[in-house]
Symmetry: D2
Subunit: 399 residues, 4 copies
């Protein structure tokens, strides 16, 4: 039996990028209003599904798009131009769905791939290692999952989630699947932060959630990790770099529209329009040049992750380490540039663009919020340690 | 007859600074909630009056505090540590009240000084030259004032305002007084911007407001300007520099409290507490060092403005020009440092400080909004032109 | 008749990069001593010839390597890691030799290509438009060339040079070829600048130098320019971006060797070695991440220039303009990053690395000197104007 | 008996500043040539003596100028505008001479003060704790001093030096006086570094130098230190901040002269002169504004050090700590600004200013070299630790 590809499932890179741009155009229309409303991104998630974006990384033989990470990351970036939150939701999803095969191998794909592709499932996660571990109480052949995670992107909106817990007694860290609406699963709906407001990143509580044996994807224990099973960290960091970049590009595009149509030349300027002011021009130029460099690096990283993913079980620790450092560099420089761009665009639009009716601050809020996910100083240290000492950090959910 | 000094009127520098700190302590308690509510700052204005802060620049012989600009600016800075908006309201007031004697001389003080001191009046203004001129229609010995200003700080909350209009026919620019509640005066209540949300900076409409002859303070015509009558620009720019500085200091103090009491050490850090993390410490150090330099310059500027004010009618254009450049330098460097500090403090508190319950973004929002008042690139150009070519820019409301 | 390829002529990308690395390894050995000596780079030029690098852009059918700009730029970058001056010499050469066909078409190649390939000629130039024009006095069917250029890279060392002059009377700007040793050609030997000291960039004087008709490559008149004939500017700017990048990479590699082998941990550091110091690591990381982004952009630019070159006479102004902006962005961001890297590396090596025996400053000197070739502020303005207004600047030797 | 004040001994602040400016004017004439020659600064030292600058900190009752640190630091800054090396020489001298009374109390002054004032002695030092300790071998009632210091500012040129050694056996650290020309004292003459080339900072070797009991100033043991005896560190760091500032001011003044008289407007600029270019003006403005802030902080620090010095034996550890943090902030921000200014001035002068005949790089070389004395990251950490945790670091020769 072959799974019929849904009519909207993009199966080529350009087609996927076009689909993403279509979604972005819709999201852009009321991005500010939705940001204010801070509601669950249900409609936004449906837009993603309707465009066939959630399925694009899944192999064609389970009905997915069969596309690679270069495409997935580019799609995340395109969405971020319009809406950083939804880009985060989708980007995390790609990492979560890839964990089906990275952690669980072909079995994971066999068990969850077809339904996921057919339904264009969005996958959330609750794996944040900063909180105490969730408890997996052995129960028959499975477990009962209990505990709370303070931040859990996409669990509330996703069709299923990957969740990290520790087996009571042994402490073994396992990654398990929890479908939407599972009994005992209760999202907190309490994400009210400065930025990334629609990323469905609030807390989630698990109370005796039943985990059947086929819901167990595998172990996250560092000593059992393989280069492939630990791709989660470079992949999620690559997602970050891409949506920071997309947000910066969105800020520049939004500012450009404002400068062109609304900004007035400064009283003391010799220029007859804001679009001819020497300082406005040079500031745009500085920001655009820096953004283009990040864009080139992000494109390079996408191809690198593609190659690493394609290596499958043959991926070496050395190759995984080089990939991680490439991506860490992207994360570090994307952070610097996106903060600079989103904070500075006000200087090329002028004072009236601080009106809340304009909402030009949402780009900065999104970048400022998410770039704190893990401290950029430690990401710089990691890049520096690799350059200076040739080290690859041990696998953690941050390295 | 001597005007009795109200019991709370500070008459010494230290006393005034203490009073300001007392007000700041009250304002700090609910600064975030008030920022969200975006209401008219009526209660806040009353706090200022109760502390005797509005009267401190007025001469003792009309019942004021008889204090100078070094004190007034320092008071603005102290208020800004807690609440940038209210610091703006008070800082603009000081410039507006000084215009009574800078523009109108002893007559201005005679007509408005005693009531102002006795009532601890707050003065607003509608002088922004970016909008079209307000119209002063000659009417008997006075005028009828009509028109609209998009931004007018303190008019809605102030007890009186200084307003710039152009006489119909001759075009002569006049500065006139409009008391609160004057018939035909209608504040728009429409200031809903990113920052400085309680600064009462919305639009105001004037419809046939009667201006009696004694409400005319004098001409703002550049060719009639004297060094003293044109102190309005350096003074207001000095106010800006001081409240940017105070906001930066407030951001650092707020972040410090958070880091000390809530922040956790990073997972990959060797430090057992966030307060010992090498990157947290060095980042605080970099920001504090830069802020201290601005603080020293602001103190220097306060004394310089004091000397210029004390020179009275003897102030030369040369001396006024040197003052203006000193202050322009403060404005430029305070802008750079305050943006850096308020944007970076998140990196020393960590991701959880992006919760809207914390509201750490209000410092950045305040600085980002107001530093666009006039483009910092042009202020840098002014400083550079003076350094390189020895120029002093002609008097405008921005130079 | 086919021209035999010299044994050392690289004809593949990887082979050329390897050859460049071989030359760089030799140049690195005494880069500092040669920098100090400030001699004519005769031996260095010969190294380039021996490795077959000058011929690689020439078509295979005249005996060249038949390689493209992506390779040429990468070769320039590799040389710059060791020696920025020689990278400049070679990079300028590539643009000069390409002018044979960009400006003169197949005829230029026919007249000069075979000798150039066979002899691995290095081409210099005297085209700097900042100086007054050189004078081309009509003389029979040719001209006599006279005048002086203050800066003329590679004329003294090159086997031939392209020289811009204006025809007396008509003022028409022509590009002509002057072979080494031509009578009346006198290099000044007067380049004694802060950086790029071996780039043979001193003045040159022409006194009645005979220009035969076949030495005339064509007109540089803006109104006669075609997209292809005006590729000189984007190409030279791409060369700049690549050697700035290579110099930054060289600074990082040199610093790394020093930190690893000589630097000691700071007295007040908890780390037992400089290579474990948290600030040293994070600083390396910040610089490396920024450099990688520039590197990715430079690689992208190389491929873009390849495509534009391959389009030949079919290149449109629109395509030429997009290329120019891509390259302008590289130039701008490479400038910023290379200055930052080369100035900051001292902070990861420590005070003893300021010894002149170490010479770590040569990287900064090279970047600081050449990045002033044309002001980066105007390059930023150009990028900004394109982004904001969609403009492509008119062709000049700087845009 | 009163010591006659030498005719040139300044005894007032303004007089001293004037004297310093006079010396600076002489030094400026051939600063570049002297920098190149890298000779011992004998003539320069004599200029300082002739102007009465070395004696100004010594009390009037031993024949000194009786002036304070605010004056001494300002004099250092004025000299640095012309010549950073000589400013370093003089600044270190002030700290060394103050050690006579800070470490040895009235006895130190009694023994060395009169000769020092009468002869306008310059004091060098060899106290750098990075090298292994010098050996003080007990010998009768005194010692024999042996060993080597890699860096020892002013020992070769000074009339006497303070030298730190450790008593053999007990390890007690002592500060002793070694007069110029003492038998067994051999300066290495080996300071050939990037910057501060005339600061006489080379190595020095001691071979059985006789130290009589009255040459012992006292103990440097941390547990015996008093707030006063440990002022050496804040004082030397204040000296650093002042000469970094002076060098930045010198760079700006030198660039200004160049821009005004030599720079040409950029080809693509609308301005008819470089002095009207919008980017040139704004860049000067940015640098000047930042420099003025450092200047204000340096003035504040001078007064603070004056107060601490005046407190004498009554100085508390708390007051010493607050002083140290004030000065650490100056050191940190002066480093940042001086590096920025001295590296950026080339952008306001243009490419021709990279000629070695201009020598505009000497300012950057001086700042880049000396700011590595102790890593600025650790100075930032110290400032941050004080701000965040209220700590005062234990006394070391760096804190």
């Amino acid at each position: 039996m072959t799974i019929p590809i849904t009519p909207t499932q993009p199966t080529g890179h350009e087609q996927a990028v076009e689909a993403a741009r279509g979604v972005a155009a819709v999201l852009a229309k009321d991005a500010l209003e939705r940001d204010r409303a801070n509601a669950e991104p249900e409609a936004e998630a449906q837009l993603l599904r309707d465009a066939g974006l959630p399925g694009l990384l899944l192999p064609a033989d389970v009905g997915g798009g069969g596309l690679g990470w270069a495409t997935a990351l580019r799609v995340v970036r395109e969405i971020a131009v319009a809406d950083g939150s939804i880009a985060q939701l989708l980007g995390y999803h790609y990492v979560n769905v890839a964990n089906l095969w990275w952690v669980a191998g072909d079995g994971g794909l066999a068990r969850w791939g077809r339904a996921s592709a057919a339904g264009q499932w969005l996958w959330g996660d609750a794996v944040n290692p900063v909180d105490p571990d969730l408890d997996l109480l052995p129960d028959g052949t499975g477990y009962r999952l209990s505990g709370r995670k303070s931040f859990a992107t996409g669990v509330s909106t996703g069709d299923a989630s990957v969740v990290a817990g520790a087996v009571r007694g042994t402490g073994e860290p396992l990654l398990v699947v929890v479908p939407r609406g599972a009994e005992g699963l209760r999202p907190g709906g309490d994400w009210d932060n400065l930025g990334q407001r629609l990323s469905a990143s609030g807390s989630v509580t698990f109370t005796d959630v039943t985990i059947a044996p086929d819901q167990v994807l595998g172990s996250l224990a560092p000593d059992g990790a393989t280069p492939r099973s630990s791709l989660v960290t470079p992949a999620i960091q690559a997602v970050f770099g891409n949506f920071y970049l997309g947000i910066a590009q969105g800020a520049l595009a939004t500012a450009r529209e404002y400068t062109r149509t609304i900004s007035r030349p400064w009283l003391l300027s010799d220029s007859r329009s804001a679009t001819a002011d020497p300082y406005v021009l040079a500031t745009y130029g500085r920001l655009v040049a820096a953004t283009r460099a990040v864009q080139a690096l992000a494109d390079e990283v996408g191809e690198h992750l593609d190659r690493a993913d394609a290596a499958g079980a043959g991926l070496t620790w050395e190759a995984r380490g080089e990939l991680a450092e490439h991506i860490a560099a992207l994360k570090a420089v994307a952070t610097d540039v996106a903060l600079d761009v989103t904070g500075t665009v006000f200087e090329v639009t002028g004072a009236r663009a601080t009106s809340n009716a304009v909402g030009l601050d949402r780009f900065w809020r999104n970048v400022r919020t998410h770039t704190l996910h893990d401290p950029v100083a430690y990401k710089r240290r990691e890049v520096g340690d690799h350059f200076l000492n040739g080290t690859h950090p041990p696998f953690t959910l941050y390295t």
